[in-house]
């Protein structure tokens, strides 16, 4: 299977409801500095359940679109990302993660609320190992992969066993 498209709702610099895609087998994302390219990768990482600290955010509410510092402090704002995954047989599987007004997170598969364990288990069944993150390389991380100490390499390998 593969990612068909993602649907953002007030996520980081993406205001309102935006559909991004379709994604092909080899898709390039381009644009000027500060336009929002890494925020797109953050959106995909977020919906897969990657920790907020890895997405350049202190708390979940930092990931919600805000016009300026003042709006950031307002409560009750929401955001969400939906990942539309197309299975080998052509059917669509929907993964959704929501930041609720109270600042927590909610997970849904095909528009049904599920808990994190079921959500993660379903991702694992597709070969998506969020904990190992062996398929995501964030901006600036690539060179440090080659400079890992032998101990760190063992830890990395253990996560994918």
């Amino acid at each position: 299977g593969k990612i068909d498209r993602i649907e953002l709702e007030n996520f980081k610099s993406y205001k309102g409801h935006q559909v991004i895609g379709p994604f092909f087998d080899f898709t390039a994302i381009i644009g000027p500095n500060g336009s929002g390219k890494s925020n797109l990768m953050d959106a995909i990482s977020f919906v897969l359940g990657v920790r907020t600290s890895q997405l350049r955010g202190g708390q979940l509410k930092d990931l919600i679109y805000a016009f300026d510092d003042r709006e950031k402090e307002q409560g009750g704002r929401r955001a969400s990302v939906k990942l539309v995954y197309r299975l080998e047989n052509g059917t669509e599987l929907l993964f959704t993660r929501i930041i609720t007004g109270a600042g927590g997170s909610e997970y849904m598969i095909d528009d049904r609320v599920v808990n994190w364990d079921d959500y993660n288990a379903r991702l694992k069944s597709l070969g998506i190992l969020v904990k190992a993150r062996n398929f995501l390389v964030f901006q600036g991380d690539v060179e440090s992969i080659a400079s890992k100490t032998p101990r760190e390499l063992t830890v990395l390998l253990e996560q994918i066993c």
Partner: protein, 163 residues
């Protein structure tokens, strides 16, 4: 636990040299460089570590610290792709991994990714045009000047002539 670990290590170190050669071979060095993983201590792999060595075609030093910025990036990508091949996920996302690469190496990495794209979906963020010349689709991101928020446009590049 130990058998699974050794199985993973076996698979990855069998693969890494092949991938590194694919990323470093050129008309001048048709064989490419060499890369391998060694266990620091065969008896207790968990207590010690795994040493990674990569030597570009013209080099004869084993110490990874001596590699230049671009050489380290290529070695890192070889390690990444070979670890990924053990438990492949359906897609890969790379954010400006080509920042330290010269044009020749960018073309080699982009070519490698293109060759893997049947069965593995790749999404690559880049500032260099070499990557989107090899891609099938392009997502252009821009800032909307009225509202200051991000917007995107998607282009299907397969409609244009083969890149």
């Amino acid at each position: 636990r130990l058998t699974r670990f050794m199985e993973a290590l076996e698979h990855i170190s069998g693969n890494i040299d092949k991938i590194y050669k694919q990323l470093t071979k050129s008309s001048r060095h048709p064989l490419g460089g060499s890369a391998y993983l060694n266990l620091e201590n065969e008896e207790e792999p968990f207590l010690h570590g795994i040493k990674y060595s990569a030597m570009p075609p013209t080099k004869r030093f084993r110490d990874m610290e001596q590699l230049s910025g671009g050489e380290k990036t290529v070695a890192a990508l070889a390690l990444l792709f070979s670890i990924h091949s053990y438990k492949p996920s359906p897609f890969f996302i790379l954010d400006e991994v080509d920042a330290a690469l010269d044009n020749l190496n960018v073309a080699k990495v982009a070519g490698f990714i293109r060759s893997k794209s049947n069965g593995l979906q790749s999404i690559v963020i880049s500032l260099k045009d070499t990557f989107y010349h090899k891609a099938e689709a392009m997502v252009g991101v821009y800032k909307d000047f009225q509202t200051g928020c991000s917007r995107t446009l998607t282009f299907d590049l397969t409609k244009f002539e083969e890149s």
